[in-house]
Amino acid sequence: MEKLNVPEQISNDKLKDIYKQMWLIRYFDEKVDEFFAKGMIHGTTHLAVGQEASAAGACAVIEQKDKITSTHRGHGHCIAKGATVDKMMAELFGRTTGYCKGKGGSMHIADVEMGNLGANGIVAGGIPLAVGSALTAHMKKLDYVTLCFFGDGATNEGSFHEALNLASVWNLPVIFICENNQYGMSGSVKEMVKVEDIATRSKSYGFPGVVVDGNDVVEMMNVTNEAVERARKGEGPTLIEAKTYRWKGHSKSDAKKYRTREEEKEWKAKDGIKRFKEVLLEANILTEEQEEVLRKEAKKEVEDSVEFAKNSPMPGKEELLTDVYA
């Protein structure tokens, strides 16, 4: 068994967990896709199939005390931060046992006690929140960092720029992770951003920006770990740009006229899960048999979550007016 070039604290067992988690993310979103197509879940949804490595890799190097903010495409971040798929699926089914008692749905899954400050229906809405979370850590001298996930499209919002500047001038322990999946809905990053790498936007705010292959979970871990160490040492924020691709359409209905099937194929060949599997097999950390077991376990967890969700109760009408104020 070889030791991979990963952060020190990542054991080989942890690597297997991460691998399984990537499958859990994929199976979960594929299941959700199926249910939406069948009309079994209402509302809308945004799937992160193909983007598993950035969520899994980044969250692998933080601890339970650390926090994240997420996006509309947030199921993966949620799972990577330790959410149970039971409560996630129940939320999508609008049940009382869901993370938000069925009041939030796909775009608002959160688990504040566990450090997941929530998905967000507002593009870039979570970025200033992450800065606020880092401000609390700073003011109360708490030793946690905040990982802030957002997309390429979000970096064109004023909130992104204001938040980065604040984090910089206050020197806060926050790690900005831009998952550049090449499109903000139909807007190609090539048309909507004039710099080659979004990571360079950090330069205007005076802190480092790093580009990383977002489909390489090992690289994701290393780059995030470095940024987390910097943040913990009081050296301020980092902007990480993870280059990746969403395999599915933007949301429930998307004819994908703004991109080619060719391009989709090229990116699918760079599948982060497949590549990680090869790395693990090659390093003898995982055998083919073990791999299959992990995959099956992940699949079963998702199947079980559906049962859990279906057997959970719907909220009563009285729930409409609860939780409005603390």
């Binding site: 809308t44 009041k103 809905m185």
Partner: protein, 327 residues
């Protein structure tokens, strides 16, 4: 006449105007080949090209301000905001700039722009994609506010909005996009500030906006079976408000139910109710005015809770009966 959908009527109104007037252009997120989040601009970039159908970055404050600035300097922009909830991000440019520029500059300059945006719940999109915030903008002098409820109205009102030399906030309702009515092919204009009596009646007046117009008409059908005659008025524009039509109707029926989807507290219904209380119609009132609106909570995701948030046909039926002291 042919029937088309509300969505097609919006597109037709814009396209006809853009063919005539080079100063009119549209900007917004995903309005290019994607055709807009709800498909309203589908086919328009193919006809008018990317200069006049400007697919923008995700930057609501920036694009709203660019619309205001271009309007001030001679263009006539139509800004599409993907969901009306996102007006929160554009609001500085709308409320502090667009609405006030002309007045602050002592009557110099004008801002002829239309901000079109879909509002309302009923799609399961939850708290940040389902709001009806029209009262926020109706509160700001300098803005006009339109809420069409039929395909016929939306085409004529949009024409009037595009012709207007002031910033107009134009609310389209998501659940109405597929609704159909007879719509003339040629351009026509429905003046801003002219209510429409959607149904005549004698016992109670319902003033309803947007999707609630349909629900009020359904309620009226049901009530008719019980011998209750309801008049349904759609103000169509909140600013300017056609007070006269409402006052006349309430003076006739002596009873008023106001219904909108927006949260009741602070909603525009309060404005209509107090307008009546201050008017000559007050003397004719035979029962307290009833107001129906959204619940005092964010819009929940669960479909049953979402429905419970917003007035439904039975709620309207019940409110009308209450004005008549009937069960």
């Amino acid at each position: 006449m042919r029937e088309i959908t509300y969505l097609e009527a919006v597109r037709e109104a814009m396209s006809q105007e853009m063919r005539k007037n080079d100063d009119v252009f549209i900007l917004g997120e995903d309005i290019g080949v994607y055709g807009g989040a709800f498909g309203v601009t589908r086919g328009m970039i193919e006809e008018f090209g990317p200069e006049r159908v400007r697919n923008t970055p995700i930057s609501e404050s920036g694009i709203a301000g660019a619309a205001v600035g271009s309007a001030l300097t001679g263009m006539r922009p139509i800004l599409e905001l993907q969901f009306s909830d996102f007006i929160t991000i554009a609001l500085d440019q709308i409320a502090n700039q667009a609405a006030k520029v002309r007045y602050m500059y002592g009557g110099k300059g004008k801002v002829p722009m239309v901000l079109r945006t879909p509002s309302g719940s009923g799609t399961g999109a939850a708290a940040q994609h389902s709001q009806s915030l029209e009262a926020w903008v109706a509160h700001v002098p300098g803005l006009k506010v339109v809420q069409p409820s039929t395909a016929y109205d939306v085409k004529g009102l949009l024409k009037a909005a595009m012709d207007d030399d002031n910033p107009v906030i134009f609310y389209e309702h998501k659940l109405l996009y597929k609704s159909k009515s007879d719509v003339p092919e040629e351009q026509y204009s429905i003046p801003l500030g002219q209510a429409d009596v959607k149904r005549e009646g004698t016992d109670t007046t319902i003033v309803a906006t947007a999707i609630m117009v349909q629900r009020a008409l359904e309620a009226a059908d049901e009530l008719e079976k019980e011998g209750i005659s309801v008049e349904v008025i759609d103000p169509r524009t909140l600013v300017p408000l056609d007070e006269e039509t409402i006052i006349k109707s309430v003076s006739k029926t002596g009873r008023l139910v106001v219904v909108h989807e927006a949260v009741k507290r602070g909603g525009y219904g309060g404005e209509i109710a107090s307008m009546i209380a201050e008017s000559a119609a007050f003397d004719y009132l035979d029962a307290p005015i009833k107001r129906l609106g959204g619940a005092e909570s964010p819009i929940p995701y669960n479909p049953e809770l979402e429905k419970a948030h917003v007035p439904q046909v039975p709620d309207i039926v019940k409110a009308v009966k209450e004005t008549l002291n009937r069960k």
